[in-house]
Every structure is written in structure tokens, then in C-alpha cells.
């Protein structure tokens, strides 16, 4: 807490400070919260002097803290690394070596964009996303610094190559875009939102008519159930674009914070097509992917199990198109689906009609669910293990489940409640197919499966870095 060591240390550090407006851009949320809290507080509103002093106190305190943090944050370029010093009570020095930087991107979050500021994001292998953030700079300053870093990290040629790649990518027409009104409509009609909204309406009516005020407490989570998916879908997936690049399919999405993701061919483990009840009437569905190394990784506040989104909402023709893109020569409608036997209705009174599976020489497809229908597609040569399961009730009915396990991700290929003899045959056949696929695909697709060489890819392909594939071959 003593000032002396701190000042001594700061004297030693020579470096440049960030943009002076940084603390404001970083902390604008607190100011808004403080202001809203003051305005809403009855007691304070009636006593304006106290409110004024309070607001001023928060403002001054916030500005002071922000300014201190800004003052003590300095960055500099050394011979082989970028060094960032920060913190005024707990000093922290982070040194990021140039040769450890996988990718550098200039990003503009919403508020920063208003002020013409930008942050620099450095992808460091093995590090979290926030580890390589440096914010904020003036936009042109950030661009310039990015170029400097690129040249130092990868050499002149690579930097040029990357600029070229980015330009080419910007020029190439996207394969597919999802219009915002469809995104909004799809979200409003998704099962969670409809159920939450319905419950909310019922709650409001019940409260008005019956004076049933206790129920209002349930309103908050319900309201959240309505607002949160809309926010996540509409803002997070705004302007969803699918395009082709030299490294595979690329997705770009987001309104305030643009997220990019690359889907390397041959790294796809499985696909999941989800069709909520109302979407089915409109012919809409969502396509998600399992990608080795992506699922299970936490991605900035997203669910841990979220894989890569290939299409947030699309019409049937678009779904068929992206499926054919990911799995060449694949057509879902051509696969012969086998429904579950009728006696499965003792275990699934309604859903048994939708329990189906189908197989071709490349994939296995399973379907289930009647509120939200989930179609999982798994590739034979990615199959990890096959399991046959039977519980006591299933045994009496002569039914069994077949699981085809793929690495962690949204897909869940389970042929539920099959006739037990059929299930046993399916397990044997599935093991056989996986074995065959491994043998035949070993020659042809292994080339595709080969990870991209650690190429000078400087744009922020946040996911699916080709680092961890080669190790287990």
C-alpha cells in the first residue's frame, strides 16, 4: 500500500500509454448504472442535494480510479516481445513474445466505435481470449501497431500475404447470409421464447384478474427467458454470413462485437439439425457442428458445450446446401429412415413416432423429439465408440438403445428404443462400418484431415486453431 515502491517501479518502466478516453469507454456501464440507480431511487430523488453529491462522488471516484489505472498501464515493444505493465496496487507485467502470437486482429466494440477507438487482440496459443487484449487505441494507431506486430511476428512477406488474404476474403461473395428479420422471427417463434412469453402473459393476466401478487416473483426469470434468447440470437447472430476461404468455411456474425470462426474441412465430427415445433411449420431449422478442439472450449461467455454454428436459422434448401458443403455428396432426404417399433410408446407416449435412424456409407442419422426435433448426423470414420444399452423396462418390451459416441459437442447420436435384435445387429454393423470407414478414408480424406500448416493467418479465427490435431496422429 505504500506509495514508494510503486512510484519507483513506474519510473523504471518506459513505455507508451493507451488512449486517454480508455477508462471512460471501459467503465461507461458503471456510470449508467449509477445514474439509473440515482434516478430511480425515491428517497434520493426527493432529496436532490444528496443525490447530486452521490452522483458526483461516483463520477469523481470512477474517473479517479479509471485515470489511475490508465496512468499506470503502459505498453512497449522490445526486441522480441510486446510488454504491458498495468495495475497500481498490484503491479502486473505481461510479456507476449512475437513468435507466440498466432493472430492479431483489430476489433471495435460498440462504445469504442462511437469514439473512433479500437482494441488490439492477439491470439496467443494456449491463452484465453482476454489474455492478449490491449485496449484502447485510436483506430488508425491500432491498425498501424497491428501491421508493425505482424511484420515482427511473421516477417514482411507473411504480413503482406495476410493483407492479401483479407482483401480477397472481403471481396469474395458470401455463400449465404441470414436476413435479420428471419433471425428475429425465428427467435420469437423458438420454443423457449414462446413458452416463456406464454407463461408471462398468463402470469400477468393471473395477477390482474386474481390479485395473485406472489406470482410476480416468477416473472423475472420468465422475462429473462424471453429477452435473453432474443438478445443472444439477434445481436449475436446479426448479419450471419457464411463464406468460403482457403482454410475452409468461415462464419461471421455479431452486431456489436463481430465474431469469426473457421470450419476446417475434415475436422467436422458431426452435425446437429434442430427444428423447434413452430419452425417446422415454416420449414426452418438450425445447423450446428461438432468440431474437434472447439466444443468444450469456453468461448467468451457462451455455453461450454456449444459447438460451431453453421446456420442459425435457414430454409430447407439452405440447410441442404450447407450440409452438402460440409459433407460432399450427402443428401439427407435420400437416406432411408427406420422408425422405432410401436411398442416404444410405453416409454415415449408421444415422441415414439419421431424416433428414427438411418445409415448410409458415410454417416449415421438419428432423429428424436416432438417439441424440438433434433437430427444428429455422425460420420462413421469419426466414431469413437458404439454402445448398446438396455434397462429393465426396455428388456420386458424387447427394446434397446444404440449410442454412437463422438467427441464432446452438441450432437448426440442415439437410436432410442429399437427392437433389441435390430439394435444388436446395428451395433455390430456400426462397428464394422466405422472400421471400414477408418480403412478406406485413411487414404483419401486423411489428406483433407491434415491440419492447415500454421500459416500466417492473422485474422481472428477464434476457434479451431490447427494446433492440437497433429499430436495424436
Amino acid at each position: 500500500m505504500t506509495q514508494d515502491p510503486v512510484t519507483q517501479q513506474t519510473v523504471e518502466v518506459v513505455g507508451q500509454r493507451l488512449h486517454p478516453l480508455t477508462p471512460f469507454v471501459k467503465g461507461w456501464g458503471y456510470f449508467v448504472v449509477a445514474a439509473v440507480a440515482l434516478v430511480n431511487n425515491e428517497g434520493l430523488r426527493s432529496n436532490l442535494t444528496v443525490a447530486g453529491i452521490g452522483l458526483a462522488g461516483v463520477l469523481v471516484g470512477g474517473i479517479l480510479l479509471g485515470a489511475l489505472s490508465w496512468w499506470f498501464t503502459k505498453w512497449q515493444l522490445t526486441g522480441d516481445a510486446i510488454r504491458v505493465d498495468s495495475g497500481f496496487l498490484f503491479r502486473r507485467t505481461r510479456i507476449i513474445r512475437f513468435d507466440r502470437i498466432q493472430a492479431i486482429d483489430v476489433a471495435q466494440p460498440f462504445v469504442a466505435r462511437l469514439f473512433g477507438m479500437a482494441e488490439l487482440r492477439m491470439d496467443v496459443a494456449g491463452g484465453g481470449k482476454s489474455d492478449g487484449k490491449l485496449s484502447y487505441f485510436r483506430y488508425d494507431e491500432a491498425q498501424q501497431l497491428r501491421t508493425t506486430l505482424l511484420v515482427r511476428a511473421k516477417g514482411e512477406k507473411a504480413a503482406e500475404q495476410q493483407e492479401h488474404d483479407q482483401q480477397a476474403e472481403a471481396l469474395a461473395p458470401p455463400l449465404l447470409t441470414v436476413p435479420t428479420n428471419r433471425l428475429l422471427g425465428a427467435t420469437l417463434l423458438s420454443s423457449t421464447v414462446v413458452a416463456s412469453a406464454g407463461a408471462l402473459v398468463w402470469l400477468i393476466v393471473a395477477t390482474m384478474v386474481l390479485d395473485f401478487h406472489i406470482g410476480l416473483f416468477a416473472g423475472l426469470p420468465l422475462l429473462l427467458g424471453v429477452v435473453q434468447p432474443i438478445w443472444k440470437q439477434v445481436v449475436g447472430n446479426h448479419g450471419f454470413t457464411l463464406s468460403e476461404s482457403s482454410h475452409g468455411l468461415r462464419t461471421k456474425r455479431g452486431l456489436f462485437d463481430v465474431q469469426r470462426q473457421t470450419v476446417p474441412p475434415g475436422r467436422v465430427q458431426g452435425l446437429l439439425i434442430t427444428e423447434p415445433l413452430i419452425w417446422r411449420l415454416l420449414g426452418w431449422s438450425r445447423v450446428e457442428l461438432d468440431i474437434a478442439g472447439v466444443a468444450g472450449q469456453k468461448e467468451d461467455g457462451d455455453d461450454a458445450l456449444e459447438g460451431a454454428q453453421l446456420l442459425p436459422v435457414g430454409e430447407r434448401a439452405e440447410v441442404a446446401y450447407v450440409l452438402a458443403r460440409v459433407l460432399p455428396g450427402f443428401d439427407l432426404s435420400r437416406i432411408q429412415m427406420h422408425p422405432a417399433p410401436e411398442r416404444a410408446k410405453w416409454l415415449r407416449p408421444v415422441g415414439w413416432r419421431y424416433l428414427m435412424y438411418g445409415v448410409d456409407d458415410q454417416v449415421m442419422v438419428t432423429t428424436r423429439g416432438w417439441v424440438s426435433r433434433r437430427t444428429s448426423i455422425v460420420l462413421h470414420h469419426k466414431t469413437q465408440s458404439v454402445r448398446l444399452e438396455q434397462g429393465p423396462i426396455q428388456r420386458r418390451l424387447g427394446l434397446a438403445n444404440v449410442h454412437v459416441d463422438t467427441p464432446l459437442g452438441p450432437t448426440d447420436a442415439t437410436a432410442l428404443h429399437r427392437d433389441q435384435a435390430e439394435a444388436a445387429a446395428l451395433v455390430a454393423a456400426q462397428a464394422e462400418r466405422a472400421r471400414e470407414a477408418r480403412r478406406t478414408v485413411a487414404a483419401s480424406v486423411a489428406v483433407q484431415t491434415q491440419p492447415n500448416p500454421p500459416s500466417p493467418d492473422g485474422s481472428s479465427n477464434s476457434a479451431a486453431s490447427p494446433a492440437d490435431d497433429s499430436s495424436d496422429r
Binding site: A292, R387, E389
Partner: protein, 162 residues
């Protein structure tokens, strides 16, 4: 019936009968502790009659578990096919797992203190997905070691990337 969960084209190896002894011992220890606690707690709070009743119930449960453990032990078996490891187990909830050797990420051999005292070990095969449940308990340590070496060798030879 049994053929479904144990295809007959491979030779199945049963696990050691001592697995049942070990699990029965485990169950007996747990039941004994539970019986003492129930007897004392019920005896001191309500009446000793209830305590004795609880002990009788626990004894009956233990007897049932005794039979189930025997059946369960007999159900455990595994087979090594040319490309896959097969593990089959369960009486009420039956399961057959087929894991290609090439999918193996690593093999675990574990042995708890009781397992060691009875000369047994557990081998578990891990793939890239946690859903794979290829665990073989009740192996002789030599057999466990042999299986571990064989699995790692085969896994290496047939390894296939994600």
C-alpha cells in the same frame, strides 16, 4: 437373449470371481456402519425396537445386494477383437461397449487398497469422448498389465486422429 450383449464370434473372458467377494465385503462394511448408526440413533431417540427393526431392514437389503452382486459379477466380461475392445456388463441395466483400439486416448490402471489386498486391478480405456464407458474391473494385476500394454501398443499402431 444373452447373445445380443455378447456376440458369439469372439471369445469372452470373464472377470475374477473375487470381484464379487470384494464388492460384498464393501457392501457389508457400509451396511455394518449404517446398521450401527441406525441402531444407536433410533435407539437413543425413539426406542430400541425401531433400532432393531432398522438393523433387520439393513440386513435384508444386504442379503439382496449379496445376490445382486453375484449376478452382476458373472455378467462382467470382455473380449479383444482384431480392431476393437468389447466390454459387456450389467444384469438389470445391460450395456455393451465397442471401442476401436485406434480411438484410444489413454489407458488407466487403478487399484484401491481393498482391490490390492485381493490381488485385483481395474483397467479403463479413455477415448476423446467421456461417454465411452469402457471399464473392466476385477482383473488380475498381471492380466491388467498385459491388457494395458496390449491396448497401448494396438492403440499406437492403429491410431487414427480426430
Amino acid at each position: 437373449m444373452d447373445d445380443l450383449f455378447a456376440p458369439s464370434d469372439v471369445s469372452w473372458t470373464p472377470v475374477s470371481p473375487k470381484l464379487a467377494t470384494l464388492r460384498r465385503l464393501n457392501a457389508a462394511i457400509v451396511a455394518g456402519l449404517a446398521a450401527i448408526v441406525a441402531l444407536v440413533a433410533l435407539g437413543l431417540t425413539l426406542s430400541w425396537l425401531y433400532g432393531v427393526l432398522a438393523v433387520v431392514v439393513i440386513a435384508l437389503l444386504l442379503g439382496w445386494a449379496w445376490v445382486l452382486i453375484g449376478r452382476n459379477q458373472r455378467s462382467w466380461k470382455y473380449a479383444e477383437r482384431e480392431d476393437e475392445l468389447l466390454v459387456s456388463h450389467g444384469v438389470m441395466f445391460r450395456e455393451l461397449v465397442v471401442v476401436p483400439y485406434g480411438r484410444m486416448q489413454f489407458v488407466d490402471v487403478t487399484a484401491g487398497p481393498l482391490e490390492r489386498a485381493y490381488g485385483m486391478a481395474t483397467v479403463e480405456l479413455h477415448t476423446a469422448t467421456p461417454a465411452t464407458d469402457a471399464k473392466i474391473p476385477g482383473l488380475h494385476p498381471d492380466e491388467a498389465g498385459r491388457l494395458r500394454d496390449r491396448l497401448s501398443a494396438l492403440g499406437q499402431a492403429q491410431a487414427w486422429g480426430l
